[in-house]
Point group: D3
Chain length 195, copies 6
């Protein structure tokens, strides 16, 4: 299978300049174009809105570290069985955390992953927002405050889970294929397989 | 309870001009400010991204009528038990459809609502994207094409379900309260209650 | 769709006198005949038993107010996705509570509705009986007693949830259509829709 | 544990005459008083309505045999994890069917029980009404008609499942204990246990 | 239906001697050959491994009584809707416990069965391992220690639930039929059915 | 966290000779001792039975390739959220398939993985046995035969899913930690992470 989406992929040089620039900047930084950029560019206005939302939550300063934000992405995307998001953001999490094992642990079962109690509480809340947000209540807020989270941190956890609720569903709608590069990024030096 | 969100609501005159203008335009049109605008303005960048995404999907031309798009919003928001979205978009659906009964039917159980077969297939797909998007497959696409849906229509259904996956989770995170005005909009003339 | 049930609707003047009298009395009081009476009259003995059960729980004196009893009906019927019961009893709840917003709140997500702690505990229990009665235990009873509920109140909550477990399933079996009148009853004066 | 209900059990001679007569008649026929009669008599009006409903569905003539009706009771009560109903109606099913194995098979997994295709379709529908009645649709009716079921038979299947939706919840609310006699009724002659 | 499995049943005299000896020993003890032995003998190596595992957990000394171990088998097998295991091990539980009612209670709903608090905690844990083992945590271990369970007892509960996770799935794969003898074993003397 | 199990790990030289030999042979082949061997050796008889069962299903000849058998392990272990099994057998699958991407695809969502129709049908069945084996029916067998599967192949699929139902629950009970080596095995040469 060499298609990356169920929907058409636009030619780069047919894209509006702002989108093309963003894609070229990513290419320069990563060495390849993550498929999410090409696939979402099928709808330029939605592309702009999605990445604006993404940047507003993932790239801003705040009480949650960038590593912690990626943990939320990986944990909730795994519950939604989203290929693209688990594999691409798993790579980003490995790189941000400078830790090659954590992403797979969080994806399979964050309840048994190598996390601090604060991170565990953060993922409990993120997964609750992802799966049964209508049950969010004051006790959830109190538990997070008990780990030193501010009101803004709590918004961030919930908003990242909410944004990837959208992103996971779009990627599953498209059957968006992760780039092969992501699978190995941040894993360190490979060992030899058994003979 | 007279709070409209678990998070702070900014003063209108403290908001960036573009956000303030948008809110004033809505006020002029609707006669009141829907709470979603005030609550989301707590985070201006997320406000801009969210409403840009919303407009890109709900206000553009396309194969789905505006009424049909609101049906998707109401059906998926009801599955997510989202007060704000069911009640506010229920009002919009009643007004768009010029039909006072449909929104409540779709919210309680779209399977028994007064829908055409095409609308029913549209909601089957929207709810699937909302609840188990990882199972979306080629047969789903074929079923929608059988009702005359184009590839762009299918994207739109899935994307609206995905956007409200985000929106419902944010509203539930905030415990966002619908304005009282929404409950009665588009219902026609009230009958007398029984003695 | 102008049918009100998947099953035959008897002619009024072909009904046994006691059933006909009950229907006429309801007509006189409400100004219309709620469809549940006509549809259930297809089976006179079941009609008699159902309304006898209904009256024994909904019309008797007791520690739960009539408004509270209707809350249980609406909350559990919404979980069962029952058109007739949510819409008809939503109307009754609005009228009993003299409050136009509560019924829709309880139907979409009672966890975020404008309720007292006692009412919230009452609905937690009613929904538990509706959805997983086999897990009812002594701690549930203790929680309700902590809100001043007596043993008879607890029976009433559970029994109303149980009766509407029956009623919701029958209405869904019939695809029982709510009368148009219910949608607007108890909502007060309608506002103008946006231009 | 020798209590039979979480709620008070009235003294027989304190009961209204009609209820007492019914209980005495059952005693004469069965040789013991099934606990459901004593426990429900705590609320005479509900007792009368429940058994009137029960008789209207279980004791009337119709296209479903009495054995088949008990199959529906056992299959749906097992899904609801109701002690009283599975064990008491399991006994009645063994006796009605003159078959000592069927009730346990239906309770554990009707999908693998010794049933005719017609009975299997009947239980598929009864369990659907018990578990997700809001999804009942025209295809379900067509499937049952394909097994020779009339409209009245379909009502009966659904109505029995609905009545035991009530009954199972009440029995679970009460923690209603089945009489010891039921466990062995209709099982034939016991074999010797292994040494 | 007189087949006992969807897969072939080997002739006894075609079996390897060790398997044949085991089956003959069971026959001598029980008076009949439980179908599980014949059906699993279709795969001799799997037969040997399964029964070795079974004996290692069910027949060894330890803090859990043999009755308690059978309770775990019956409770978890009922959740998995396994005919063979519920009915065969229900018989063994009745015999081990010298109590004719307990097995049916545990199968229908262990939460309302006649159990000690220790047994109830044991089944809470066994069922958790059966249904959502990835959520097992330190608090579960602490709860069991509070009932005097050792680390080895906790392993045993989890391991029995895990072994029957396998066994239930194999029996359901085979549609393995319980021998008629099991249904009545350990039930004591039958009463007369009602006239 | 440097513990590999919630339960004690025996010293290698305290183990029975047969178990020690097996562990040494694995060590010689893989270059390290997979933690599952050390953790299960806490119970020598269960160790012997488990690995005998494992070898009987994973190492024998048959219609399913060794790669296909590992696909079943990974797909079902992912549904059970088992760290050890997904990560260790993911490595084995990469090596067996000589394909570095497949294991992660199968773990996140086999429905969108790079599979042949036969492999997809195989995993549909394996996951059904893992999650709702009581619904296995003749139509499932027919679907697999349509892909050229024999009766023995079908047993193998189901039996592997059943064995890892056990294995996943044991690993989750132990909180069994995968060896760090597994994460990178079979992934080929790592690319450079983005700057």
């Amino acid at each position: 299978m060499d298609t990356i989406s169920r929907f058409p992929i636009p030619a780069l040089d047919a894209l509006p300049q702002d989108i093309r620039s963003r894609i070229e900047a990513v290419h320069d930084k990563a060495g390849f174009i993550p498929n999410v950029f090409l696939a979402w560019a099928h709808r330029p206005d939605e592309f702009r809105a999605f990445f604006a939302y993404h940047d507003a939550l993932l790239d801003k300063p705040g009480g949650l570290s960038k590593t912690e934000r990626e943990m939320i992405v990986v944990a909730t995307s795994a519950r939604n069985h989203c290929h693209y998001c688990v594999i691409a953001h798993g790579a980003i999490l490995r790189i941000r955390a400078k830790q090659p094992l954590l992403a797979d642990q969080v994806a399979v079962n964050y309840l048994n992953a190598d996390l601090t109690p604060r991170q565990r509480a953060m993922l409990d809340f993120g997964v609750k927002v992802a799966e049964r947000s209508h049950e969010v209540n004051d006790a959830d807020f109190a538990a997070l405050r008990g780990h030193g989270m501010t009101e803004d941190d709590i918004w961030d956890i919930g908003a990242i889970a909410a944004l990837f609720a959208l992103s996971n569903r779009m990627a599953n709608l498209m059957a968006l294929r992760p780039n092969d590069e992501f699978y190995l990024m941040g894993r360190g030096t490979p060992s030899q397989p058994p003979a």
